[in-house]
């Protein structure tokens, strides 16, 4: 086959001969793709014919040979794809509808740019909406991953005094509730404790949760392997036991089932691993669950509130009924313990709401934005479709003329729509599965990300939304088109059908106006959120995080506080003495991290704004040099006295400016005593006033705060801060120092304070980023829609424009007419968009900061951006209109 019978290659050069031989081989490969019966019947013929063609091409040159090879391969491939019915018998095998689909595929293949544009638009929008649907579905809609999860509730105490919010539960009270209530299958409590495991070579910090008896009965989740805690393990001084997280099981034990024989060493105590819980069991990242083993002496202390309550309501009992039942129990307890319980009641809430919490509104917002993008995409596809229909008007009219029914003619187009939708939906689902995997790394602050998956609901959503898109961009225009088509061939053939074309352009104009409006909504929202982010990042937080590093050192709450205090004191002093370190200190909760429990404070000799002269204030526990390390600004008085382990001396406190001002203008709080629940009622002397720090996050300015200058050891597990010029080297110094002082303690979570602060802006940054991305996509789609509409308009009026130019019209006038038309369209779109933005105000207003939802400058800017993009989109069609060659235009048709 490689040797041709008549090869006029006698004079051919070496490379050409080699290329000719290669071409024959390449053709043989391509030939293998030809339909089998064609190969069998005409194989030799085809090869000989190719040889003849190749000889001819080789005589011209290597390039011609390559060109031949490419077209021949494509031709064979096309034969393979489109043929298969060259024998009459084959025809009978075809499934009904399949032939039309194949026809449609061929028809689309002739217009690849339309097919690709429509399919990609659908795929992109479907991919984005399906991904967001998967997120919304997982986080907000799907029940929590426990059996009968709708019966799970959170349980808290609540003080009847107006200012205090919900509170954690004291273990004694929880026990009473558990025994006396009737509406619950199970009730238990937990608290968080970071523990250090010293079973390995190096001490390792694990995030832990201590639980009270019956905790796992509440959830009803079975461990993957092993068991939950036995009764004796839950008793005070019982044997140690631990359940570990699947993630830890995987990372540390490689899913070894023999892990149940292994031990952890926590606080010097050997703890047996008795089971492994699935990773979706815990909210957040709990490594290990330990029995609380609360000492019996703790139960009568009814003010020791530290447990988060969880409960499973009995089947058939509503949340309100369960609340009433428990409130009755608490009322009885109030009579029994008037001093400690009379003021308190219960607060039940759905566990789903508690876990999903504040992420609901922002998620719906992003979902709505993605929905808008989808709408714009569909409008764009409808625009593309209309252009296509316009181009095929003649074909359709001829079909009508030769007797095609309206359904048949619509069917031709609808089969194409079906193909595009099928391909777009499939691509979209594929994209969504990829995007869903990316979500956890982007939306880091979302709860329930471990459960995130694209399940059958996501696929159904993708199919349903694609079908809806098909109706909007396919069926609707086609119905309009066939209605016009039914009125006959004449008008279309004459090309003078102003009525019909105007009507159809009306539809397309509406679509473009809609796109412009929705784009403005998205661009406006994105600008607002970007501004919000900028404002938030510029808020004066009251301290400087540059050159400050923060870290944790593992410690337990039941440790000997005096010993712990000596450690803290030595660590902070040791760090402060390290060359390059300016100062070091600690605090129980860093600013901007969202710990915002409130207490009631009274200052001796002053009357606060609330009942009884009290003031509701947040509280922090700080070391002496904490404020110096953060470079907070002292407004009045002095900083805390030096850090010492001394639980007998009178306590000191510092209040912030908001606190001092709330006590009345002109009054001086320094030197006075302050008392409240934060110090167990013991008076503390106010040493100084610090300028407001953004404790509750950048959005909340200046809530009253009180900082108690505690003795070392009173807060076992604080956040340490060090101001140093050598942020890189400080890690080793801290570890070395900690090891010297106490080798059993793990140092962990070391990070620049700036990074910790930045994470407070994660969510606004994410919103700004996501919305900006959507806005850019929306703008591009709207620009594309405008471009195709005006290309169509200018194309249609070429003849008219040509005549006018020939009669002496200035090209500038033609351009200004096009621009005028675009301008009217833009104004309509902008007006509708502004109206929509006004409607959305209610939705987005509460998420904004430092900018009003209808900020004229922002919306004006967004409109300007939109106008510029639109101007660019119509520039090319307008220029084309001005450059129409009158002669060529009139010669057309």
């Amino acid at each position: 086959m490689t040797t041709s019978a008549h090869a006029p290659l006698g004079g051919a050069t070496g490379p050409r001969r080699a290329a000719r031989a290669l071409a024959a081989r390449a053709y043989a490969w391509a030939f293998a793709c030809a339909p089998a019966d064609l190969r069998a019947m005409y194989g030799d013929e085809m090869r000989r014919t190719f040889d003849a063609m190749a000889d001819e091409a080789a005589a011209v040159g290597v390039l011609a040979l390559i060109r031949l090879l490419v077209t021949e391969s494509a031709d064979i491939l096309r034969a393979r794809l489109t043929s298969r019915r060259f024998t009459v018998a084959n025809r009978t095998h075809l499934i009904p509808g399949f032939r039309q689909l194949r026809q449609a595929a061929r028809s689309l293949a002739r217009r690849p740019s339309f097919a690709i544009a429509a399919t990609l638009t659908l795929a992109l929008t479907t991919g984005a909406t399906t991904t967001m649907f998967a997120v919304v579905n997982t986080v907000l809609l799907r029940p929590l991953p426990y059996p009968a999860a709708d019966r799970l509730v959170t349980v808290y105490e609540s003080s009847s005094s107006a200012t205090a919010k919900k509170s954690l539960i004291a273990p004694g009270r929880l026990e009473d509730w558990r025994q006396r209530s009737h509406a619950f299958d199970a009730m238990a409590g937990h608290y968080f404790e970071n523990v250090t495991d010293t079973s390995g070579e190096n001490p390792e910090r694990l995030s832990g949760m201590r639980v009270t008896p019956g905790y796992f009965d509440v959830f009803g989740t079975a461990p993957l392997i092993g068991r939950t805690f036995a009764a004796d393990e839950e008793r005070f001084n019982g044997p140690g036991a631990a359940l570990i997280n699947e993630s830890l099981w995987e990372a540390r034990y490689q899913r070894d089932p023999n892990v149940l024989d292994r031990h952890l060493v926590i606080g010097g105590q050997t703890v047996r691993i008795v089971g492994v819980l699935p990773r979706t069991f815990a909210l957040g990242s709990i490594d290990v669950w330990l029995p609380g083993q609360l000492p019996p002496g703790l139960f009568p202390v009814r003010d020791a509130r530290f447990l988060n309550g969880v409960a499973r309501v009995k089947a058939g009992t509503t949340l309100a009924e369960a609340s009433r039942d428990l409130a009755d129990v608490q009322r009885a307890l109030g009579r029994e313990y008037p001093r400690t319980d009379a003021d308190w009641t219960v607060q039940l809430g759905s566990m789903h709401d508690a876990r999903v919490g504040a992420s609901g509104r922002p998620l719906w917002l992003v979902f709505a934005a993605v929905g808008l993008l989808w709408l714009i995409g569909v409008a764009n596809m409808a625009g593309l479709m209309l252009v296509q229909l316009k181009r095929r008007e003649r074909e359709m009219a001829i079909r009508t003329a030769i007797g095609g029914s309206r359904i048949e003619i619509a069917g031709v187009v609808l089969h194409e729509v079906v193909l595009i939708v099928a391909a777009g939906a499939a691509l979209g689902v594929w994209m969504a599965s990829g995007l869903t995997a990316l979500v956890p790394s982007v939306f880091r602050t979302l709860p329930r990300l471990l459960e995130l998956s694209l399940d059958w609901r996501g696929v159904v959503f993708a199919i349903a939304s694609s079908a809806a898109a098909a109706v909007l961009f396919g069926v609707w225009p086609v119905i309009g088109m066939t209605r016009a088509g039914a009125t006959g061939l004449t008008r279309v053939m004459s090309q003078g059908a102003r009525g019909a074309t105007a009507g159809r352009h009306g539809l397309q104009t509406m679509l473009v106006i809609g796109q412009v409006a929705l784009s403005l909504l998205l661009v406006g929202a994105a600008s607002l959120f970007v501004e919000t982010y900028v404002h938030l990042s510029r808020v004066d937080v009251g301290f400087s995080s540059d050159d400050v590093v923060t870290f944790h050192v593992a410690a337990r709450w039941d440790e000997d506080r005096a010993r712990l205090g000596l450690f803290q004191e030595a660590l902070v002093n040791g760090l402060a003495a390290t060359p390059g370190v300016e100062s070091a200190g600690f605090v129980n909760f860093l600013p901007l991290t969202g710990a915002n429990l409130r207490y009631q404070a009274t200052v001796d000799g002053l009357t606060g704004p609330e009942t009884g002269g009290a003031l509701t204030a947040g509280a922090r526990v700080i070391s002496a040099d904490y404020f110096r390390t953060l470079r907070a600004r002292l407004v009045d008085g002095a900083w805390c006295p030096a850090l010492k382990t001394d639980f007998t001396a009178k306590g000191h406190a510092i209040v912030n400016r908001a606190f001092a001002e709330a006590m009345g203008p002109g009054t001086r709080v320094v030197g006075r005593d302050v008392r409240g629940t934060f110090s167990g009622g013991v008076p503390l002397v106010i040493d100084g006033v610090v300028d407001n720090l953004a404790e509750d996050g950048p959005r909340v300015s200046s809530a009253p705060y009180l900082y108690t200058c505690d003795s070392a050891g009173s807060w076992p597990d604080p956040e340490y801060v060090v101001r140093t010029k050598d942020a890189r080297g400080i890690g080793a110094v801290v570890r070395q120092l900690s090891k010297q002082l106490d080798p059993s303690r793990a140092v962990f979570s070391m990070a620049p304070l700036a990074r910790v602060n930045a994470s407070a802006l994660d969510e606004p940054r994410l919103h700004a980023g996501v919305l900006a991305g959507f806005a850019v996509a929306a703008l591009s789609l709207a620009a594309l829609g405008l471009y195709s509409l005006f290309t169509l308009l200018v194309g249609e009026r070429t003849r008219e424009i040509g005549v006018r130019l020939a009669l002496g019209a200035a090209p500038g006038r033609i351009v200004s007419e096009v621009a005028w038309r675009a301008g009217r369209l833009l104004v309509a779109g902008v007006l509708i968009g502004l109206a929509l933005t006004a409607c959305a105000e209610r939705w987005i207003g509460s998420s904004l900061f430092g900018v009003a939802p209808l900020d004229p400058l922002t919306l004006g800017g967004a409109t300007l951006v939109l106008a510029v993009v639109c101007a660019l989109a119509i520039a090319l069609p307008a220029a084309r209109a001005a450059q129409v060659d009158p002669l060529a235009a009139m010669r057309r048709d």
Partner: protein, 112 residues
């Protein structure tokens, strides 16, 4: 013999192949060259398209293998049915063109 009109419309390729065979028998490459020549190179069939079309035309008994081989290449000819179909298709196209011309002439009056 089947009614030639039941084979209509022909694809452009089929029409051109029948046309190429209307004056003489040709082999595959000959058909390609004839069509390319007649259309000034605008239509140059590839082997896949050509033989798919020939296979189909042969199955419909519009063309036939002559049995003659030159340089091991088969020659094809038009069957009597094929000639009738070619005539019918030509007439169909003619009437369509006439129809379109008439309509356009009518439309021209509306135009500026």
């Amino acid at each position: 013999m089947a009614d030639p009109r039941t084979f209509l419309p022909l694809s452009p390729q089929q029409f051109h192949i029948l046309l190429a065979l209307s004056d003489q028998e040709r082999h595959g490459y000959g058909i390609i060259l004839d069509i390319a020549d007649r259309t000034s190179g605008a239509l140059r069939l590839g082997t896949g398209t050509l033989y798919t079309a020939i296979a189909r035309l042969a199955a419909l008994a519009l063309v036939a293998d002559t049995g003659r081989e030159d340089d091991r290449r088969r020659f094809y000819r038009l069957t009597p049915l094929g000639r009738k179909v070619l005539t019918a298709e030509t007439e169909r196209l003619e009437s369509l063109v006439r129809y379109a011309r008439a309509k356009r002439a009518g439309a021209a009056r509306h135009r500026v």
